[in-house]
């Protein structure tokens, strides 16, 4: 005749341990997916390196993303734009050959979208560029990325925000800079 609750708990112990282990496994699985099969830095059809272009050669962002200052969308450079330079430059590299093949077949390059906002968010580059906000504020230190990836907090914490783009980033910035109607939902959602 056991009255105390303890023996009953003892019976449950092994089961409890199993559950704990399973939870641990859950975490591991999640982390491994995030690390090894990431969607925040996918393989692009052409291994275009922002590090080389924006970093080493210091080409200004808006040289290619021409519309950033006058349109909601920054715009992807047309293939002709790439060819404009790469007719002469580094024509022998395999990746440039690949680019050429696209050009000759008059095919667009199917870049994979990395910085993707939900459809119900209507962000406009124009206003932000005109407000002289650094591209890096949201896109991270693009000039250091060989393959473009969604901005994330680096070890030294250079980029102040976290792996995925979250609404509080927008809000925080809007609050800091006292944007007018900066926290009105209809400023971005319509």
């Amino acid at each position: 005749m056991k009255i105390s609750i303890v023996p009953a708990l003892r019976v449950l112990k092994p089961a409890a341990i199993l559950v704990l282990v399973a939870f641990f496994g859950l975490g591991v699985g999640y982390w491994s997916n995030a690390t090894f099969s990431s969607d925040t830095s996918p393989e692009q059809p052409i291994a275009f390196s922002h590090q080389i272009h924006a970093g080493e050669n210091e080409i200004p962002c808006q040289y290619c993303h021409t519309q950033a200052s006058r349109s909601p969308s920054a715009g992807v450079p047309s293939v002709s734009k790439c060819i404009g330079c790469h007719n002469e430059i580094a024509t022998e590299r395999p990746q440039i050959r690949l680019l050429m093949s696209y050009w000759e077949n008059r095919e667009p390059i199917p870049w994979i979208k990395v910085h993707d906002l939900p459809d119900f968010v209507h962000f406009t580059h124009k206003r932000h560029v005109l407000a002289e906000i650094e591209c890096q504020t949201c896109h991270g230190a693009v000039e250091t990325m060989d393959r473009i990836r969604l901005a994330r907090r680096d070890i030294d914490g250079t980029v102040q925000h976290d792996q995925t783009w979250e609404m509080r980033l927008c809000l925080g910035c809007h609050r800091e800079n006292e944007v007018e109607n900066g926290t009105d939902c209809w400023t971005c959602h319509k």
Binding site: P118, D119, F120, H122, T124, K126, R127, L130, E180, N181, D184, C185, W186, T187, H189, K190
Partner: protein, 252 residues
């Protein structure tokens, strides 16, 4: 600011209809019932501008139409003296809106421009706002709508498509208002000029029965128009303090 004072501040705001000491703009529409011919050009304009889904006959038979602006008909008298009056009815953007108090997640609230907002991605679909709205201008998405290709190529990229389980309603064409403000900024202006922004319905109205503008600008057409002696508000007795002013039909 201490918690208490913050609370008191919140309380004061809360007591104020619309909780703003002063609106930034106060967008207002006037509808001249004397000029409205019920041609419904406004309805098509609205559908085209705001990606309003095609519902289909079966759903319409169930009474599930989606019309951000609709024309109401009221017959008067009998033959041969029958008269038909038209009443364009869209979201009245009430400054004391019943729908705003009831939404549990604040998907609809009053913004600093005197507009009654509807944030689709925040909506959980309790539909209580539609119950509380005496004008019945809030429409619910009972399922995911679809456009036969290539009709979808017409959809306006500036307006979100509403999925199933979401409430929607007239926004006074917020995308146009935003665009106008954007242009004003480009010109280094603080404010939008009168007539610079018009909702799709106002823009298309063949008889100019609809006028839209900022009530705070005393020079604006809408200000003059709403101070017309014929001005009245539909269901004014409910004290919704709506931002759509109707001009009485002249019975001559």
């Amino acid at each position: 600011m201490s918690l208490f004072s913050r609370f008191m501040d919140g309380w004061r705001k809360y007591r104020k209809p619309g909780y703003y000491d002063e609106f930034d703009y106060h967008w207002t529409m006037t509808v001249d019932l004397d000029s409205c011919t019920g041609c419904e050009a406004c309805m098509t304009a609205c559908q085209a501008e705001n990606n309003i889904p095609l519902v289909g006959e079966e759903e319409l038979a169930k009474g599930r139409e989606i019309q951000w602006i609709r024309i109401e008909r009221y017959w008067e008298g009998e033959y041969p003296n029958a008269k038909l009056n038209f009443l364009p009815m869209m979201c009245q953007h009430c400054d004391a809106a019943p729908c705003e108090t009831v939404c549990p997640v604040s998907a609809t609230y009053h913004n600093q421009d005197g507009l009654n907002t509807q944030i689709y991605n925040r909506c959980v679909g309790t539909r209580s706002c539609a119950v509380y709205c005496p004008y019945e201008v809030r429409y619910f998405n009972y399922y995911n709508h679809h456009w036969d290709s290539p009709l979808d190529q017409q959809l306006n990229p500036d307006v979100s498509i509403r999925g199933k389980g979401v409430m929607e309603k007239c926004t006074f064409c917020i995308q146009r208002i935003r665009e106008a403000k954007d242009l004003a900024k480009d010109d280094g202006r603080r404010r939008v000029r009168d007539g610079e922004v018009q909702p799709a319905c106002v823009q298309s109205c063949p008889t100019k029965a609809l006028i839209f503008g900022d009530r705070k600008d005393t020079e604006s057409q809408v200000y003059q128009s709403m101070n017309n002696p014929r001005a009245y508000k539909v269901l004014d007795e409910l004290n919704t303090d709506s931002s759509v002013v109707y001009l009485k039909k002249v019975d001559a």
